[in-house]
């Protein structure tokens, strides 16, 4: 595991700004997802959604290491990635509610949000479905020489899919600027990772000769530092890498997954929430290091809350797409 270097003493203004920004971004994801859950509970959201609560440090740590024009691909659990890469909550909520103002005109929904303006190639409802796409984006970057990097988020469950190994082999053969970010939250739906993955996760990447490391996915600075190094490497033409982030989803597999004791204990959940909440971990560190005080963090929370509330309001009041939209955008 990488450890976070202690730059406390010499923290620059830019560092502090980054750390505060990361706190704000994680807060935005947390509050966004809480409202998603509420929209579901109030039967205002069509379908289901997979909440990112508990895993915020991964998306934020990685995306803060990227430039706006860099690419990401995302998963069914994709709101966090989308926000972290810079999307606005209002158009995201609109998408989740199937409204015309959504990022995809309401045609994609929670599992397919995409946004070219922030380099988000899209969430994907096929487990591992976005792994080839991220690799292809990295192929383009290299082919066009435009210096962009692609970060590919996926759950540890995606390691069950063969195409991941095909892509890692291709990326390594061709030295493509892609970072495979494995969010190991210990479960694929309702099944523990020990029942679905044999051997060692990192060894799978290393077997093709790829640089690979594990990081504490609940520590946003640790994630960020590891990601920044790998992004730099990729941008310098040194090829792909694999970053395994150990994390945990605090809620159910999706908003409707309420009774979970048949697959994991309440105790386990409580331990993670109490000991390893990425927001709490980072907040405590910021305060301890005197980069922020409690009031400042509360202020951030209040600002974000207001923004999210406005975004929800916008989405609820936004109109559905016209019926004629149904057969538009099938072909470009």
């Amino acid at each position: 595991m990488s450890t976070v270097s202690s730059r406390t003493e010499t923290a620059s203004h830019a560092d502090v700004e980054l750390w505060i920004r990361m706190y704000r971004q994680m807060t935005a994801i947390r509050l966004f997802e809480e409202r998603v859950n509420e929209l579901y509970t109030r039967a205002l959201m069509p379908g289901l959604a997979h909440l990112y609560i508990g895993e915020e440090a991964v998306a934020v740590g990685v995306c803060e290491a990227l430039r706006r024009e860099d690419y990401i691909t995302s998963t069914h659990r994709g709101h966090g990635h989308c926000l972290a890469k810079g999307a606005s909550p209002d158009r995201m909520f609109a998408e989740l509610l199937g409204k015309a103002a959504g990022y995809c005109k309401g045609k994609g929904g929670s599992m397919h949000i995409a946004d070219p303006s922030t380099g988000n190639l899209g969430a994907n409802a096929i487990v591992a479905g976005s792994v080839p796409i991220a690799t292809g984006a990295a192929f383009s970057s290299k082919y066009l020489g435009n210096g962009r990097v692609a970060a590919c988020f996926f759950g540890e469950g995606a390691l069950g899919q063969g195409v991941v190994y095909e892509e890692m082999n291709l990326a390594q053969l061709w030295k493509l600027p892609v970072i495979y970010v494995c969010e190991n939250n210990l479960y694929t739906e309702y099944t523990h990772v020990s029942e679905t993955l044999a051997g060692d996760i990192l060894a799978r990447a290393k077997s093709v000769g790829m640089a690979a490391e594990t990081v504490d996915g609940q520590n946003v600075r640790a994630v960020h530092e590891a990601a920044a190094k790998l992004v730099e490497r990729a941008r310098a033409g040194e090829g792909p890498s694999f970053l395994c982030c150990n994390t945990y989803r605090f809620h159910g597999h999706h908003v409707g997954d309420i009774n979970r004791e048949y697959y994991r204990s309440k105790r386990e959940e409580q331990d993670w929430k109490k000991e390893r909440d990425p927001l709490a971990v980072h907040a405590a560190w910021l305060v301890a290091q005197k980069h922020a005080d409690a009031a400042q963090l509360e202020q951030i929370e209040a600002e974000v809350k207001a923004e999210i509330a406005k975004a929800v309001e916008f989405a609820i009041n936004a109109p559905y797409p016209n019926q004629e939209e149904v057969d538009r955008d099938v072909y470009a």
């Binding site: 069509p46 379908g47 409204k99 096929i126 694929t188 099944t191 019926q323």
Partner: protein
């Protein structure tokens, strides 16, 4: 209506599936289930709840997210003495299993000159309307229906689901079994006694005189709904459910249309190059001289299924739309 007499209880479609599996697993220790979250979770649709408690994790087996992997493993297991029932959670994921099912399972019996066989079942789902968007709403059964060596089952009632699934499990060939996700909670009469329904026998779900609806899976309910509406205006519609797209009971379909002289074919897959095309072509050829007018087709609109509710709803056939079409075809518009 089915021709069986012994109707004792009402159970749901999901229960019918579960009973079929439980009974066949009790009858034959070689039957096992492979799939994602099939054991303790009993699948996300809870269709298999309780099975792992009775049969254990040695026979109700959670897999990694490896659709190609465990389907292909099922092919090899079926060749060597096991009768696996492979569970593909969403029909959209059959994309990942096409090589296993089409280049392997479907062809092994033939390529080996009849020496190996592949008695496996793939259970999967179809159907939109769950606000699940384009990658979780497809009805792709036309692909498998196109492939010699496979059989394809599309039950539309709890009764059919149970009888057809038991038959599929006992069958010596690879069978793909498509369940409409929206139908799991639908109730219907199912006998407690052991029974099976042969593959390739259509069922007339409602008798009628003026127009024939040939409808599969979820679309049977749409056809029955339209038939009710039509009855109110004095039009008598016959609803024929092929139950299996392959083998296809051509005779029952063609005879119905010869009697009514009008036909609409319905299927939740895309119309284009899909099941409605085959059914329409069949009828147009074999009932040519008895048809009053062209066979009409209703299927999913030719677009990726949209997420937004008003858009999604526009892509699926409804009883009302069918009612209007049929009324027009019967000269009553």
């Amino acid at each position: 209506m089915s021709t069986h007499e012994v109707v004792t209880r009402e159970i749901t479609f999901a229960e019918a599936i579960r009973e079929a599996l439980a009974e066949e697993m009790r009858r034959d220790s070689r039957v096992c289930i492979l799939g994602e979250d099939v054991a303790e979770a009993g699948t996300p649709f809870k269709v298999l709840s309780g099975l792992v408690e009775e049969f254990g994790t040695g026979r109700v087996i959670d897999t990694p997210i490896s659709e190609a992997g465990f389907t292909g493993l099922g092919v090899g297991a079926a060749m060597t003495g096991i009768r696996p029932v492979v569970d593909i959670m969403f029909g959209d994921f059959i994309t990942l299993t096409m090589d296993q099912m089409v280049n392997q399972a479907a062809k092994i019996h033939y390529m080996s000159g009849g020496r190996w066989k592949v008695p496996m079942v793939m259970r999967t789902t179809l159907g939109a309307a769950r606000r699940s968007a384009a990658q979780h709403s497809q009805s792709l059964h036309a692909w498998f229906s196109h492939v010699p060596g496979l059989k394809v089952v599309l039950p539309s009632t709890p009764y059919d689901a149970k009888g057809l699934l038991k038959e599929a499990i006992r069958h010596e060939n690879p069978v793909v079994f498509f369940e409409d996700k929206m139908m799991y909670k639908m109730k219907g009469p199912v006998p407690a006694e052991d029974y099976t329904i042969p593959l390739g026998v259509a069922d007339v779900k409602r008798a009628g005189e003026d127009i024939t609806f040939v409808a599969t899976s979820s679309m049977v309910q749409v056809a029955l709904g339209a038939a009710d509406l039509l009855a109110e205006i004095g039009i008598s519609a016959e609803v024929v459910d092929p139950r299996t797209t392959w083998p296809l009971d051509e005779q029952t379909i063609v005879e119905s249309v010869k009697k009514t002289s009008r036909a609409v074919v319905l299927d939740e897959g895309y119309e284009r190059y899909g099941v409605t095309a085959e059914l329409a072509a069949l009828i147009a050829e074999r009932a040519f001289y008895d048809l009053d007018g062209p066979v009409r087709r209703m299927g999913a609109m030719h677009v990726p299924i949209p997420f937004s509710p008003p858009l999604e709803d526009a892509t699926i056939p409804t009883p009302q739309k069918l009612f209007e079409l049929a009324r027009e075809m019967c000269g009553r518009s």
